[in-house]
Amino acid sequence: MVGIHTGVRSRRRASTVAVMGVATALLALAGCGGGGSSANGKYGFPEAKQEASSTITVWVDADRQAAAQAFQKANPDTKIKVVTYDGSANGSNSFRTKMQLFDRAGNGWPDVVFSSQNNDAAWASQKNGGKQAFAAVLDKGLVPKETLSNFTKGSLDPCTVDGRVYCLRNDLAQAVLWYNKPLLEQFGYALPTTWEEYQALGEKVAKEHPGYIIGTAGDAWTPEVFMWASKCQANDVTGPKSVTVKTDSTECKRAASMLDALRRNGTVPVVSVFTPEFLKKYSGKVLMMPGPAWYAGAIFRNPESLDVPAGQLGVAAPLTWKGESEAVTGNVGGGTWFISSHSKNLKAAENFVQFVTTADEYQVDAAPGYPAYAPAAEKWIAKQEASKYYATSLQPVVTAASRVWAGWGYPTFSQEAIWAKTMTPGVTGGKSIVDLLPTWRTAIENQAKVNGYVVN
């Protein structure tokens, strides 16, 4: 920086540098010190010395404060300290950032952490620079087998690395087809059952009812709704540090060309659902929209968004591609709960995580999203249907929950960020998604490599 006074005598400077050198070395040593116990515990990871009555520190985002409150009410004897943080929302990476700093300091880790990012197990399950992995292994006795087996099929995939479970899923974000039932009937259209029918419907809507839309492709999760549901192998995580990236397959191309066609005719605009532009142009104009389960509350039944009145919003199961027997779908988010492998009170931490993911007091009574724990999900759906808001049964949401295609994985880097920075500006600038597929592949491969992945 400018302004540093340089007229100091050289002898004094030498001694100052020496003092600083020592201070730096001490700091470095302090940074390298600490760490957990090296003994291997009964749950499959090195445990800290347990103190059964110690307070557990729980990190939650603002929405999950209700979960901590429900636990405190049901377990007044367990001492917990609740810390609110951003939940790593919007890709802030706060969770990872803070844990890496605690790793360097050798202490400070919370006992339980909620994260709104699905790919945290990819790093939390791995040793960091020789330091013990943050996440505790849950399926080696820490969480009962029966509890684990009651989670919806495939819902623990983001938590599973190399065959071991490192987190419990809070809620699911399976993609379904939301639609406006009275509007569809008024236009005289049948509900599509395949993506080909969906595209044909888009072409009809463009001609007969211009201005109406059947989806959007302007959000970072566009690949997760459309490419994932088409079994595009752009993100197939085959090992803790290996990924297969193929964007030139028929599966990728069919989804890309469908999006190109619908984007050109204006029925699937490149506009994010969370922008003022979307509300201004498309309020009352959404005929249908493939998207995650949470669109119901965040977009349709939200006075600050589309605010669709009761009795209009219908939901259909994910669409198939022609010639394929069973539909698969993508997933856009859903939170996860981690237990720290450094916790001094694993029992209380496990009690907490099991409660917030499975107990009705939170998952059915207070949780805003579709519970990952299947018995809670059934009751949650029944409660939603009882509200009489929806125009159809919500059964397709349940069907879609176990249909998330397993060929799209959860690496440490964000596919959403890659799509947003590579594809969105290109598409907005007039290029076609089909033409951009090789660019997308290169971008994913580059990102994977700098994150230490071997690309197949």
Binding site: M1, G7, M20, R96, A417, A420, G429
Partner: protein
């Protein structure tokens, strides 16, 4: 982000300059060496600078030349970050931004300061200086949040202007090609006001006799500005260049917030500082992050040296 010194600082600097001139070449530090109270005043600054400036910098040097296990790594970290596919685009982005911003800053700040200085009506001049300074009051992240609205054609108070320029959506506005100009405009808007006040102060320092003499010799306002005022402002322009360069190479808040607000359409590795942040906190590679920081430091020091020597910042008159 933009570091504009206050007018108080200007006064102090100016008075220091006068004192050293009067001192007839005696070392400026002599007087303070005799009075211990000087050390008392300086010590908090010195201690904080050592704790939060020098020690972390030395720690960064240590990290840059070691690997994750603490072993000596030579220049491995530097070659690794330079080979990274994100490095050169980030260098390019920051360079383009700096060129646009620094040129804009020098031309407009000096131009506006000369203009305001030339205005004879006192209240007009005072009002204009206040208006120029006002945007700077909304500093840092909050000003960028404001700009998020200004740049979105559907919410912007200047949506007509954006539409006239062919922008109908936020994503169109924040296309990669537009970003250096956008960041330069944001930085100018928040930082230029302070500099205009400083240039105004510097213009006030030019002796009225010199201006008067030029006027008697027949120089008009433009000639006075170009031949008298501009050359005499050289040091201050260089000072502004150095300070702005240091701040500009550290471009971080604007792209980072815009990245989050645009759901990553503006990449989170747009600038070198962001890339260092990605290395440290996304890839858990503090050594790589330190290497990028050192590269930035060296480049900023070299460029500052050019400004200092060309601008004659430390020359005595």
């Amino acid at each position: 982000m933009t570091l504009a010194p206050s007018s108080d600082q200007l006064t102090v600097d100016a008075s220091r300059g006068r004192r050293s001139r009067r001192g007839g070449g005696k070392p400026a530090g002599r007087a303070s060496a005799r009075s211990p109270i000087g050390y008392v005043f300086v010590s908090p600054y010195a201690l904080l600078t050592i704790a939060f400036g020098i020690v972390p910098s030395l720690y960064a040097v240590l990290l840059a030349f070691t690997n994750a296990d603490g072993g000596f790594a030579g220049f491995d970290n530097f070659t690794k970050v330079i080979d990274d596919f994100r490095f050169w685009p980030a260098v390019f982005h920051v360079t383009i931004y700096l060129v646009i911003w620094l040129l804009g800053l020098v031309v407009f700040v000096v131009g506006l300061a000369l203009m305001v200085h030339a205005i004879g009506v006192r209240w007009v001049s005072t009002t204009l200086r206040f208006v120029y300074y006002l945007p700077g009051a909304l500093a840092g992240a909050s000003s960028i949040l404001l700009w998020l609205f200004v740049l979105d054609p559907t919410a912007s108070p200047v949506s007509g202007l954006l539409s006239a320029m062919g922008f109908d959506s936020f994503v169109q506005v924040i296309q990669p090609g537009n970003l250096p100009a956008i960041f330069a405009i944001i930085a100018f808007w928040t930082g230029a006001g302070g500099w205009i006040i400083i240039m105004y102060g510097a213009l006030n320092n030019i002796s009225t006799e010199v201006i008067e003499a030029a006027r008697i010799d027949g120089a008009n306002a433009v000639q006075i500005a170009l031949r008298i005022q501009l050359p005499m402002l050289r040091k201050w322009v260089a000072y502004m260049g150095v300070m702005s360069l240091a701040a500009g190479t550290q471009l971080f808040v604007e792209p980072q917030l815009l990245s989050q607000a645009s759901n990553a359409v503006v990449p989170n590795d747009y600038s070198l500082n962001q890339l260092a942040y990605q290395y440290a906190f996304q890839q858990n590679d503090f050594n790589g992050a330190a290497a990028i920081s050192l590269i930035l430091l060296v480049v900023a020091l070299l460029l500052s040296w050019v400004f200092v020597t060309r601008g004659g910042l430390f020359e005595k008159e």
